[in-house]
């Protein structure tokens, strides 16, 4: 294998490729990047952690086709530090990579490419095109609610639904649930419901930027994200996502409009008086005022409030401050609505009809 390509483009690709590589993989070859040149004019670079795989195709001047793997992180570091616009990469027959750039020559120990796991082929593909920033926002508003409890693995990802032209993304850990929707964006005939693993979601959020469209490819067991020169393929979580609609209260007794920043700041302040042992905030709604209190026998107590438009009964409910903050931080809207019914029934944070966040209460002490 022998080619010459643009150094900056190669380095940018390697940066993304190395981000999914695990630090202590049991398969040493997985710390490498697969470099492949077939007949075409492209250099294909692939890395994978067996859950998520990424492939870049770079334009290159091909001297000789071939296949090999080289240590991904080292390649990334070398191409970052090199001086010069063009990099020449030649692989010797014993899998040693010779990298030349300007006056520098680097010999890098590689491994044969035959054993490198290939990205799965996406068969029976459906697809939609979606603006990258739109997709990123959908993920950002839900990803924090993904469960890390591996015993309920169906919750270890986001539930991604396309139905009647709308996209709905849901994530829950059983104690709170975040749901976000985007109306009339897809082909109304397309029906998709998949669970995308947390790892993939996090990688994707890192990669997504800008207003260009990205193509989502759906197959039976895989999901792919395709843009110009990059393809990310991830396995899906198999299983049935719980019936989330049942958790979302149909109605509520009280609706309170809140300034998001002000409310977040209040929660964050009072939450300073909680810790792992005692992590509950008490929210009291009374005439024109929301009072938040925390009491922790080890740390101390706090009481703070903000003015609200509230005319209902004096009402108290307790929530975990972390759950409250997570949603408020992920949003960028100015106002949110908090819907409440009983101290023992869930609270709901809403933004228009696009964002719904259900948060289970704690027993009042």
């Amino acid at each position: 294998m022998h080619c010459i390509c643009d150094r900056i483009a190669l380095n940018e690709a390697l940066q993304v490729l190395q981000s999914i590589i695990g630090t202590n993989s049991t398969l040493p070859i997985l710390t490498n990047v697969l470099m492949e040149i077939t007949e075409t004019k492209e250099l294909a670079l692939t890395s994978t952690n067996l859950e998520v795989g990424i492939q870049f195709k770079l334009e290159a001047e091909i001297i000789e086709p071939g296949i090999c793997t080289l240590p991904c992180k080292k390649m990334f570091e070398i191409t970052r530090e090199l001086i010069g616009d063009k990099v020449e990469i030649e692989i010797s027959s014993d899998n040693i990579g010779i990298i030349k750039c300007a006056n520098g020559v680097y010999r890098l120990m590689g491994m044969a490419g035959d054993e490198f796991p290939r990205l799965p082929r996406l068969s029976k593909i459906n697809s939609i095109k979606i603006n990258e920033n739109t997709l990123k926002s959908l993920l950002k508003k839900t990803a924090y609610a993904i469960s890390s409890d591996e015993t309920r693995y169906v919750l270890n990802g986001v539930y991604f639904i396309i139905s009647k032209g709308d996209i709905v993304v849901v994530a829950t850990d059983g104690r709170r649930l975040a749901m976000v929707s985007k109306k009339e964006i897809a082909d109304p005939s397309l029906e998709v419901d998949i669970i995308i693993p947390a790892k993939t979601v996090n990688e994707l959020m890192r990669v997504l930027s800008g207003d260009d469209p990205i193509e989502m490819l759906f197959s039976e067991t895989q999901v792919g994200f395709q843009r110009e020169n990059m393809l990310m393929v991830s396995r899906l979580i198999e299983g049935k996502f719980p019936k989330y609609e049942q958790v979302i209260p149909k109605s509520s007794r009280e609706k309170v409009n809140l300034d998001r920043e002000e409310f977040l700041s209040l929660v964050r302040r009072v939450a300073l008086m909680t810790n792992a042992k005692s992590s509950q905030l008490r929210f009291r709604f009374h005439d024109g005022c929301l009072t938040v209190t925390a009491s922790n026998p080890e740390i101390g107590e706090a009481k703070d409030d903000m003015g609200i438009e509230y005319k209902g009964d004096d009402f108290s409910i307790a929530f975990n401050p972390v759950y409250m903050q997570d949603a408020l931080k992920a949003l960028d809207d100015e106002k949110v609505t908090l819907e409440l019914s009983e101290p023992t029934l869930p609270g709901v944070i809403k933004v228009d009809d696009t964002f719904t966040y259900v948060i289970m209460p704690m027993k009042l002490k």
Partner: protein, 642 residues
Amino acid sequence: MARNVRILDEKVINKIAAGEVIENPASVCKELIENSVDAEATRIDVDIEKSGMKSIRIADNGCGMSRENAIMALERHATSKLTSDQDLFSLHTLGFRGEALPSIAAVSKFLMRTAQQQELIGTRIQIDGGKVYDVSDDQISPGTIIEVKELFFNVPARKKFMRSYHAEKMAVNQIFLKLALSQPLIQFTLSDEGKEVYNLIPTNNIAERIATLFGRDFCMDLIPFSAEGDDFKFHGYISHPQLCRNTRSGQYIFVNTRIVQSYQISSVIQKAYGTLLPNGRFPIFFLYLTVDPSIIDVNVHPTKKEIKFSHVGSIETMLRRSIEAVLKDSKLIFDIKEQNDELKKIDFSYNIPRFTNVTPPDKKESASSNFFASQEETQPVKNIQPAQNPKPEPAQTIAKDIGDDDFLEQLESIIEHDHISTPSSPVSDQDNTTEQTAEITNSEYPNSSTDFTGIRIIGQIGKCFILAESREGLIIIDQHAAHERVNFERIMESMHANTIDSQSIMFPVTYQVDSIRKKALVAKLDLLRKAGIGITEFGSDTFLIDALPSFISYKAVTAVLDDLIEESQKTKSDSIADWQIKLAKMMACRGSVKAADKLEQIELEKLIDDLFKTRTPYTCPHGRPTIIRMTYEQLRKHFRRE
């Protein structure tokens, strides 16, 4: 066939009595040594042959007996220790029933030689199987010598029931050990087949005697305690949890210097250890209890092994409190023992005392092989020079007598062998040595200087253990055990303060039961709710869980319920406090990180930080160690850097 009722003749009565009191050579030793103690001897020499079956010889320098008394003593129910029935409830002597001597004499070839202090001519009485053979003059120094030969020669049935030589020898050893522990002011020697096994110098410091019997290393793991009540006082030593055994064999209870067994006391002490010990492990302890003789009844059993207290509540309470207090104040990190120590542990579990064997300097090269020698290989003990008379301050006595270079060398070799916590400063001069000896014998608990500041975490290994550096060396923490301890105390605290966080969950968990399990669970619903688990009956054989403490996962909660039901089928206890502890243990266990959970550095730090804030960081709630350590001293030893 009619038979006449008759009064049994003396010989038969004695044999029957012998059956009760004299079971084996060890019980002969016990009775005779106790007599010597009651005779106010200051030195008692015990010689046995063929584990005591061939011969037992007990010689003391006590008050001796006149000829008249000596002959009388061999009559049944003859005793000098009791004059009226009132005395029975204010006993100050170990014996009182007047059964031992005639019983022993009835089943052996018995020779007694005795002389009183002021008499020139003593008495010699020889009895074969209860029949007086010979009474004559004798020339011995004041005291009493009793030789018991061919025990049970005339009771073949009993002889058949003797255990192996080894077992009988161990039994003799045990009883000797106990008696030696009960009377540290008396010099004891034990010889087996003519070889001296023990030579115990008198001391009024019980730790000194324990150290001589069990070794200095052993003593390093003992923690002293003491307290005083209205009509009782006690003192003694309890073991670091790492020194526990799987039987109660290491528990020595002395009530008014009498060796007794008391399940009651044993379980009080066990309770004081709480979660420091795993199920089925028992602490080692030495308890010296002094009570007004009128509140105890010793006359429960002919061998006087058991004892009854007329009121024991205040003793129990104070004992428990006192032990809880010293355990709380002690740093109880488990040591990574060297191989030899492992050997020692095995030895103890088989209940074989290890003989301290300090070899003279010229034999030094053989010292290590003998150090843990089993009994057969044991060389005669050349111990610290016996002082002839008990002196009030043994530590100072040693200081005074220390001019002897030979002794210093021996002492050094003791210290050299003491690998648990040899003081790191080299032995520079005599004074220094003396101080160290005093320190060890006073059982200044060596670990009490440990502190947890300045711990640096090195990392996680095997996704299971956390390595860290402390001021003293390497410490290794079991992540699951540590997290369990943290959660356990957190749960217990919250339960008591009724402040446990109970977070409602979106997808309630159903829990299926059958009728038996249902009944068990229904009885525990209040307990569970108090612990933050929202659980309600939901149909005939289903429960619904709709709220959980935040640290417990969905799956863990069903495991906790399984555990709880299983436990309630095993245990009969209804005490709410007990069940709270049980439930807290289960929740702590199920809610904690497991082995094989990868933890990030920040999680490791949090865990260690939390662990050292707990009240008992040294063990998990089930009594397994959370932290073990290897001191720099031990590391140096392993790398032969001395």
